[in-house]
């Protein structure tokens, strides 16, 4: 249903011909090499696009916050100030690279890289469309959670290695917050795993449909709550307001990246924005139907049959529609995240842990139990199926 990029390309004759040609030229079976090349190319493109998206994220944040605060925001560099992020990047690269004297230099260098590695590694499993998924792992979401926790280590190391008390406190807060909020996030993802019967994003998205009533968020009451648990946990994991305690400027100057300057600081910021995008994508894929388009337009069969287009073009049009659906949902969530940041005040540091362990975790566990019972009782059908069955059977007798 949801092949990775290589499997998708293998459907087309042109690709097969290319492989055959390369094999002839090189004299040995080039399938593996081509697979590697395709994967590498895809990854390269995705990573760069994502870096661009992260840069645009900063622009979006400034523009939206300006809108909320009745300001103009960046409007000098480029049309509507769109190129502001490039200007910022150039500024960062040009800046003096400062090492604190007492810093642990190895770790000080390593921390931003670790953060970026953790975030970019997650991109391998993000389902942009049914064809544009770098690796459709069986343990996709599990892998994503594992790799993204590298960001926690990076935050911690960044805070530690700078050898400053603000950085130290910020790093401690960030790491503890990230590993704490992994618990409710993982548990609410587990409910989706239970319903879809698999851990890969392919099975997540494949179990849903294009219309909102086919999405997992409206599958049953527990997933509806679970989505909000996931969303709040996601905010905390990415250190976004109102959970931005690790970089609370009123208390800790700038938290774990207080001592960072130049592009190291830029890497941290980039990692943060990309991570927000990735987790918004995960939320969209797990709860909001992912790349599914209504009326099954996404697989392109309709264009081939009704409009008479060639299959290759129909399929690619479908892919574009899917990518558009995914990006629409993800960017909507991205907008909500920014919206929340400029709307809610920051909460206290003890309240962060209270919300996690006393409210979200019990709620997530309750959801897990509830979804388990729901799946067992109604054989995995959604609440709409159950209601429809009850209405059609007339007696209200429920399933079986």
């Amino acid at each position: 249903m949801s092949p990775s990029l290589n499997e998708y390309l293998n459907q087309f004759e042109g690709h097969q011909k290319v492989i055959a040609t390369v094999t002839e030229v090189l004299g040995f079976d080039a399938t593996g090499l081509m697979t590697f090349i395709v994967f590498f190319t895809g990854a390269f493109v995705v990573v760069n696009v994502m870096a661009l998206v992260g840069g645009l994220g900063t622009y979006a944040e400034r523009k939206i916050s300006a809108d909320i605060q009745l300001r103009q925001g960046p409007n000098r560099v480029g049309p509507y100030g769109l190129l502001q992020f490039l200007a910022d990047g150039v500024k960062m690269i040009m800046k003096e690279d400062i090492f604190p004297a007492q810093a642990d230099k190895t770790l000080f260098n390593l921390a931003p890289l670790l953060a970026l590695i953790g975030v970019f590694a997650t991109l391998a499993v993000v389902p942009f469309s049914s064809g544009l998924t770098l690796a459709n792992l069986n343990v996709g979401v599990f892998y994503l959670i594992g790799v993204s926790s590298l960001v926690g280590v990076a935050v911690f190391l960044g805070g530690y290695s700078a050898n400053s008390k603000w950085s130290m406190l910020g790093g401690m807060r960030g790491a503890s917050q990230i590993i704490s909020y992994e618990v409710p996030v993982t548990i609410s993802i587990l409910t989706i795993v239970l319903i879809s019967g698999g851990m890969s994003f392919g099975s997540f998205v494949g179990g849903q449909g294009g219309f909102p009533h086919e999405w997992y968020i409206f599958h049953n009451p527990f997933t509806f709550i679970g989505f909000f648990v996931f969303f709040v946990g996601m905010l905390a994991e990415t250190n976004r307001a109102p959970f931005d305690l690790p970089e609370a400027e009123s208390e800790l100057v700038s938290g774990y990246h207080t001592e960072y300057t130049g592009m190291r600081f830029g890497l941290f910021a980039l990692a943060e924005y990309i991570e927000v995008f990735v987790l918004c994508g995960v939320a969209a894929a797990a709860f909001l139907g992912g790349y599914r388009v209504p009326f099954n337009l996404g697989d392109g069969v309709v264009f081939v049959e009704k409009l008479g287009l060639p299959p290759i073009i129909g399929k690619n049009i479908g892919q574009v529609l899917q990518l558009g659906a995914f990006l629409t949902k993800t960017l909507f969530l991205y907008y909500v995240v920014i919206w929340v940041r400029w709307t809610f005040p920051r909460i206290r540091v003890d309240q962060v842990m209270t919300i996690c362990w006393k409210y979200l975790t019990p709620l997530a566990l309750f959801n897990l139990v509830g979804v388990t019972i729901w799946v067992f009782a109604f054989d995995g059908h959604s609440i709409w199926d159950v209601l429809g069955h009850m209405l059609s059977s007339g007696s209200g007798g429920g399933h079986h």
Partner: protein, 175 residues
Amino acid sequence: MFENTLFFLSATLTIVGAAGVVFSKNLMHACVLLLGSLFGIAGLYATIGADFLAASQLVIYAGGVVILMLFAVMLTGGSADSSNKFGIEKIPGMGSTKTYVIAGFSVLVISFTILKLMANFMKSYKAGELPAFSSTVEEIGTLLVTDHVLAFEISSILLLGALVGAAVIARPRKG
């Protein structure tokens, strides 16, 4: 080809990390190197088709154990005789020449022992035809709740006990 590349990368990461854990004089560095070694092991799991194991390794070690270790280093770093409050330079007890000599001797002894055992096994081992990779997630899940359900439940009780026990032990007490 592709798998071989992954294997060599992972093996290198693992062994270099482990060696770093042994020889690093800075505990923080040792922890980060351990993280690298564990990532390498996750990659090794991936090369033998154990995708679930690999993901578990990532989640549990990278997300949990190593951060826990870092926290522990942080919370215990500032010993009384340390000049640096945050314990970067003067983390005590990282070993001396004497202990390394003893360790080296012990390692030699145990290496020979293991090699003796392994030699017998490897002589009789015949490499067979390896099956293709398949998803292990569903099979592991099935095994966990059928054949190994007792071990599964016991390990869940163990985790609960560890959770409560760790919280109780580490709680600061008055007096």
